[in-house]
Subunit: 465 residues, 2 copies
C-alpha cells in the first residue's frame, strides 16, 4: 500500500497491489520500474532533479556512457532494448592518437562485437519515457529524499520548491539514488555494522565538446572510441548523434602535468598544441571552451550490506565506480537482471530476495571496482605500450583458436555476463600466464608461432582454476 | 573571537585573545584544552552528553583503558600526568588463564615498564576537572553538534533539553567528538575528495563486572591484565580501584562459538562453566549479570584529510580503532603532542599547522590501525600458542643483550614514542627475521644458544631498513 502522510495524518491511496517506492529516476531506477511493473507491482518514483526532458539540455552535450552486453541483456529482459538501440552509436574498437597524430586501431572484441556510445542525458530521458509508458510508473520530480525508515518502508521527502516535508510508506523501497545516495548516507551508514568506504582517485576530469563540422559530419571516425594516451594522463572522445564528440580529459589534480597547471588560457592553449596536436588543429579555440564544463573528481564506493528491512540499494548507490571500464551503467542495469532473477526464484518473498541479493551480488560489486581500477591503470599507462599491444594480439590469436580455453579479460567484462568477480579472478590467472609468455626470448619475432601457443597450453594446464 | 549567534543576531563575547571551539569533552578534547590554554588561547568546549561527574555512574564500572607511554608523554607535556597517576593501576604483564585454570605470566616489557588500567568514566571525569581547572575551559553540556562551516569556523549546535539551535563562531574548531564525530559525518564526509571508510570486524564484545570480595580485596592478581585466550574468541579483565575487574568477552556475532548462541541463561551458564571454569567459580551468577551491559560492535575508521579550513579532527574522530593494542586513548593523546609541536614549530600559523598535521600524522593513524588489527589476531589466535610464546622469549633475550638492535614490536608501540608507522614497518621486518629463526631445526631446545643469536645478527645484517 502507498500511504501519503503529512502533518501526522495518514492517507491511504491505491488498491491491494503491492506498492513500491523507487528513489531516483536515473537509469537504474527507471529500468527497475519496468521490471517491477511487469511483475505486478505498482511503482512510484521520486526524483530530486527537475524533469530533464523539459530542461534546456540538448541531448548529446553531456557525459557519454558505453553500453555493452550486460546492459543490453537487462534492457532485453524488460523488453525495451530496441528503444535504446535507436539512440546508440556502435564502437567496435578504439583508435589511439599518438603525439604525431598517427592512428592505431584496436578492435574491442571479435567481428560483430561493439560497445555503444549513448549520451547520459539522452539515454536518461528515454529511460524516463520507458518507465512511464512501459512501466506505468508515476515520476514525481523536484523531490529530495531526506532519509528512510528502512524497516517500515517509510521514505521522508522534501519538495524542493515548497520545502514541504512529507512521508511515503510502501511495501518496498529501492534506493536508486546514485553515488551520493541519501538513503545510504543518511540512513544506512548510521546502522550498526554497516561497512562503508568512499575513495577518490588522484585524477580528476574535465569534459570538452568537440563540435561537428559545418555540414554536421564528424570530425573523427564516428564508429570508434578515440583515445589520446599520454602516460600519466589521457583524453578520450565518444561520438554523439549530432556529429559532435564528447571528449574527456583525465589527469591528476596536482603535479607536473595536472589540472592545477592549466589555469590560464595561454597554458591551456600551449598544453593542447604540444600534447594533443591533431586534436588542437580540430579545435583551436579549446582555451575559450575550457570553462564550459567544470573540473570534477572520481571516486569508488564500497559498502555492505546492500539491504536493510524493506529497503535495498541498487546501481551507483551500492557500487559507484570510476568510468574506465565503461561498466557503471552496465553494472547498475545488471543489478536489475539479478534482482529480477531472485524475485522469480523466491516467488516475491522479499526477505529472502534481499538477503541473497546482498550476499551474492556484493562480490560482483567488488569485482566491478577491481576491474574498473585495473583498466584505469591500463588506459593510463599501458594502452600505448608496444608490449601491451603485442600481449593483446597474442591473447586474441589464442582466443580465436581456442575459444573454450581463453576469453580475454576485456571480453569477459564487456561481451559476456560472466560474474564480475569470476572475470576478475580469471583475468588475474591469465595475467600470470601472459607474464611468462611475454618473458619468452624473442617473443616479438615469434609471437604467432607454435612455440608460444604450446607454452600457453602448457601454462594453462599448470594454472587450472 | 567567540560569537554566539541565535535567531540571526550576533553577540560578540570575549576579548582579543584567539578563541577556540572544541567539540567533545572526552579525553582528547579535555587534554587539548589544557595545551591551548597554556599557549594563550581561550577555550570553549561543547559536549553532547550530560556531565558524567554529576551522573549516577560510579567510576570503575565502565570499560577500562590501558594508559601507556605515549599517553603519559602527552599528559606530562601539559603538566597534568600526576593527576592521572593517582587513579591508574599499573599492569606490568599479562596473566593467561588456560582451560584448566593454570596461569602463565608474561611481562609486557622490561623491569619497571607497565601499562596502566584506568576506567573510562574515572579518567574522563578527572580530565574534565583538569580542562576546567588547569585549562580554564568552559564546558557546556547537553549540547549536540549538528555540523560545521569549517572554512569560516562556525559550529552549529542544538541544546538537547530546549532543542534550541545556536551557532558559535571562533578562530579554530577542533572536532574531538569521537568515533561517530558529527563534524566528520555531517560536514567533512560531504567534501569533494574526502576519503572515508568505516569497517566493522566480525567480533562484538560484552562487558561483565567481576565484583570485589566482601572485604574489598581483588579476586584475581591486581597488577596484571588477565586474559583467557580461546582461539577464535577471548575474555580479558582489567582491575578497577574498588577491587572489581572489568571483564570483556570478545567473540564473533555469528557462528559456532558466538554471541548468537548465548541467548538463554542455560546456554550462558554452560558456556562459562566449560570454557572459563576458573572464572565461573568466581562468578557463578554470570548468567544473571549477562544483560547488565549491552552487546556492542567494533570498527576501524580511516579518513583523509584530517583538516579543512579552520577545523581539524583529533582522536577517535580521525582514527577510531579496535581496542586490541590498548592504543586508542594513547593515540588520541599523542595527537595533542603532535599538534602542540607543530603549533610551536609554525608559530601559530594554523594553515601551516593543519596542513602538516594532516599530511604527517595520517600515516601514523594508518599505522595505529594496522597495529591494532594485528594484535587482534595475536591475542585471539597466538597468545596461547607455545611457538608464539617461545618467539617472544627469544626476542626478549636478544633485545636485552642488544637493545640498540632490537626493540620488540609490543615495546615500540607501548613503551616508546616511535611513530606508529615506523613501528609497524619495523615489526614486519622483525617478523620476517623471526619466521626464519623459528624455522631453525630444534629451535625449542636451543632457543637461548649462541647459534640462534648469531643467526639473528646475520639476518639483521641482510634485512637492513
Amino acid at each position: 500500500m502507498f500511504y501519503l502522510m503529512s502533518s501526522g495524518s495518514i492517507k491511504k491511496i491505491g488498491n491491494n497491489m503491492k506498492e513500491v517506492t523507487i528513489v531516483g529516476a536515473g537509469l537504474v531506477g527507471s529500468l527497475w520500474a519496468v521490471y517491477l511493473s511487469k511483475a505486478g507491482y505498482k511503482v512510484q518514483i521520486f526524483e530530486r532533479r527537475t524533469d530533464i526532458r523539459k530542461a534546456e539540455i540538448s541531448a548529446g552535450k553531456s557525459i557519454n556512457l558505453a553500453l555493452s552486453d550486460r546492459g543490453w541483456k537487462a534492457l532485453k529482459g524488460a523488453g525495451v532494448d530496441h528503444l535504446i538501440k535507436e539512440i546508440a552509436i556502435p564502437m567496435p574498437g578504439r583508435i589511439m592518437h599518438d603525439m604525431e597524430g598517427n592512428l592505431t586501431y584496436q578492435p574491442y572484441g571479435k567481428e560483430g562485437q561493439a560497445i555503444n556510445s549513448v549520451s547520459r542525458g539522452g539515454v536518461n530521458a528515454r529511460m524516463m519515457d520507458i518507465a512511464e509508458q512501459v512501466g506505468h510508473a508515476k515520476i514525481t520530480y523536484n523531490t529530495k529524499c531526506l532519509e528512510a525508515d528502512m524497516k517500515n518502508g517509510i521514505c521522508y521527502f522534501e519538495n524542493n520548491e515548497t520545502h514541504e516535508h512529507f512521508e511515503v510508506k510502501s511495501d518496498l523501497i529501492f534506493a536508486c539514488d546514485g553515488a551520493f545516495s541519501a538513503i545510504r548516507y543518511n540512513s544506512m551508514q548510521k546502522l550498526d555494522r554497516f561497512n562503508y568506504s568512499q575513495t577518490y582517485i588522484e585524477d580528476g576530469y574535465r569534459e570538452i565538446l568537440l563540435p561537428a563540422n559545418a555540414d554536421c559530419s564528424y570530425k573523427l571516425e564516428k564508429n570508434a572510441l578515440h583515445i589520446w594516451p599520454r602516460g600519466r594522463f589521457m583524453m578520450i572522445a565518444l561520438p554523439n548523434e549530432d556529429g559532435s564528440f564528447t571528449c574527456t580529459l583525465f589527469m591528476p589534480f596536482e603535479g607536473e602535468n595536472s589540472f592545477e597547471k592549466l589555469t590560464s588560457k595561454e597554458a591551456i592553449d600551449n598544453f593542447f598544441k604540444t600534447t594533443f596536436p591533431d586534436f588542437y588543429t580540430m579545435m583551436p579555440n579549446i582555451a575559450d571552451a575550457w570553462e564550459d564544463h567544470p573540473l570534477a573528481s572520481l571516486a569508488i564506493t564500497r559498502c555492505y550490506p546492500w539491504h536493510h528491512g524493506k529497503t535495498a540499494l541498487m546501481g551507483d548507490a551500492a557500487h559507484a565506480t570510476v568510468p574506465f571500464y565503461g561498466q557503471g551503467m552496465n553494472a547498475g542495469f545488471e543489478d536489475c537482471t539479478v534482482m529480477n532473477d531472485l524475485m522469480l526464484k523466491h516467488n516475491h518473498d522479499w526477505d529472502k530476495i534481499f538477503e541473497e541479493y546482498s550476499r551474492t551480488r556484493k562480490p560482483d560489486g567488488d569485482g566491478l571496482q577491481d576491474l574498473s581500477l585495473h583498466n584505469y591503470h591500463v588506459m593510463r599507462d599501458f594502452v600505448a605500450d608496444p608490449k601491451f599491444l603485442l600481449q593483446k594480439k597474442i591473447e586474441a590469436r589464442f582466443a580465436a583458436k581456442y575459444p573454450d580455453k581463453w576469453m580475454p579479460l576485456y571480453s569477459m567484462t564487456t561481451f559476456s555476463d560472466i560474474r564480475y568477480s569470476v572475470a576478475w579472478k580469471e583475468g588475474q590467472r591469465q595475467q600470470k600466464i601472459m607474464d611468462e609468455v611475454m618473458a619468452m626470448e624473442g617473443i616479438e619475432a615469434k609471437w604467432d608461432s607454435n612455440d608460444v601457443e604450446e607454452k600457453m597450453n602448457e601454462l594453462l594446464g599448470e594454472n587450472m582454476v
